[in-house]
Symmetry: C2
Amino acid sequence: MSRCPKITLLAGGVGGAKAAEGLASSHYRWNLQIIGNVADDQEFHGLWVSPDIDTLTYSLADLIDRQHGWGLRGDSSNTLHCLERLGAETWMQLGDMDFATHIFRTEQRRLGRRPTEIATQIAKRLGVEIPLLLPTDDRVQTRIGTDRGWLSFQEYFVRERCAPQVLEVRFDGIEQARPTAEALAAIRDAELILIAPSNPIVSIGPILATPGIRDAISRSDAYCIAISPLIGGKTVKGPADRMMSSLGYQSDLLGIAELYHGLIDALVIDRQDQPHQAALESLGLAVSVTDTLMSQPQQKQALMEHCVEFALAQQDRSAA
Amino acid sequence: MSRCPKITLLAGGVGGAKAAEGLASSHYRWNLQIIGNVADDQEFHGLWVSPDIDTLTYSLADLIDRQHGWGLRGDSSNTLHCLERLGAETWMQLGDMDFATHIFRTEQRRLGRRPTEIATQIAKRLGVEIPLLLPTDDRVQTRIGTDRGWLSFQEYFVRERCAPQVLEVRFDGIEQARPTAEALAAIRDAELILIAPSNPIVSIGPILATPGIRDAISRSDAYCIAISPLIGGKTVKGPADRMMSSLGYQSDLLGIAELYHGLIDALVIDRQDQPHQAALESLGLAVSVTDTLMSQPQQKQALMEHCVEFALAQQDRSAA
């Protein structure tokens, strides 16, 4: 592996955006590509909203509302308020500037352009140079089976604030979905594959479940390293731990290791979770212990540099 | 005709909105229905924009930006600025609150609802109680043949600021368009039909050209009265006079009388045009001379009350 390896990051949700920012601000950004999650996309008011891709784009463009972790900084809500007055359901917060993204995306899709090209154009126009790739151009929709019935991801996550108990997760359309050539090439060409500290079920899950993607990673010679989304056995934000538990996984690092079994060479865990290091190593994983909280920009960059350097060192060791 | 006659107003553009406001603020509002113009509708950013209907709605809701004569008062342009950044053409000014109307309308159309129902819902939600009717639910598009080629109405009017010379006007889709039951009923039931001081070619023209509408007016027993859009032989705003001239009509009151030939019983003209009164009367038209400028709310109401009272007096005379 070269000293500035070709890196492909799998990134979903807020954790994915933070990891992307950490890499993008490091000197490892030059050979970086990012594969995002499209399964939590949903149509609102007839417009195609792609929350994970937008969060990645807005984060890398430094336009993100850092207080919320989503949406555009300084955005207003005039459109949404008027939609409410007209009788529309408006639980999904969409700002006026943010609406431009959804309007533009929807029109371009109706004109027949590939979602991948549209995402690229939006990112470039907002100043993002790092390639943001989609796992598929086809429609895949996360459906959450809960004690209150089946919900879309946004209904579960935003409208119901993750309150319902998750009994089942499926990705509608996943069997028919074709991986994009760009995503497959990014995996094939990678020297290092990083899995961001995102929700393994609903953020990374749909990327890996896209036919061809998981296989491509398994077959790749790249060193593959995941960052645990758990700190002290709990997620920093979001429902990953409860979701893993209610779906029958161990809601701890062993559960993470199980979900990424056959894919990853190493797992980066937080200092608070050091007690689990030996158990993870006994599964054949290399384990690195560090501070994994990414509140501040320096923390994001430091964590991501740590991951790359750990991977390089592991490679050196195995080459020696 | 009763003292509070059933009135149907044909209204397009800013002149139409002003006439509508004048009637709506008078005591003649109780039996009022308004038929608007949909032929200058156009899709922008994949959204269906209906400028004449929106101007009517926003005016009657007292939400209109009175400085511009279109759009919503106090609106912002955050969405449009972001669309521009993403690479979209943004010569059509659409505010953030205004976008809500277009987003809502577009989604409702895609859901299969009738444009008439959608226009009614938008108007009601914004507080407009007077029925705003569409001449047709079908797609009719004004095309302007100019010395710079064929343009949509908005391209001609907004983007090119009416600068090109108009050589031809056609309404694409008009032959196949079916009149709405609501518009036909409003004409059939009317005791008084008023034609607003709108552009007779492109604002009133497409309403009258909708199959069935002109016939229904001709066959109606209602007294039909038009307000001239000319003052001192010129339009107050807009290109009606130049357009009439370049299309081969007399660009004066006789041209107006010709365009409404067979429809109207009376023409209301401005004091500045009194010299033409005799010529108009020799065509068999009743003529009323008054102040037709509608800058102030009182002027709108006074003019429209004058029109109704003139019509009532003419009816009384013919009944006597």
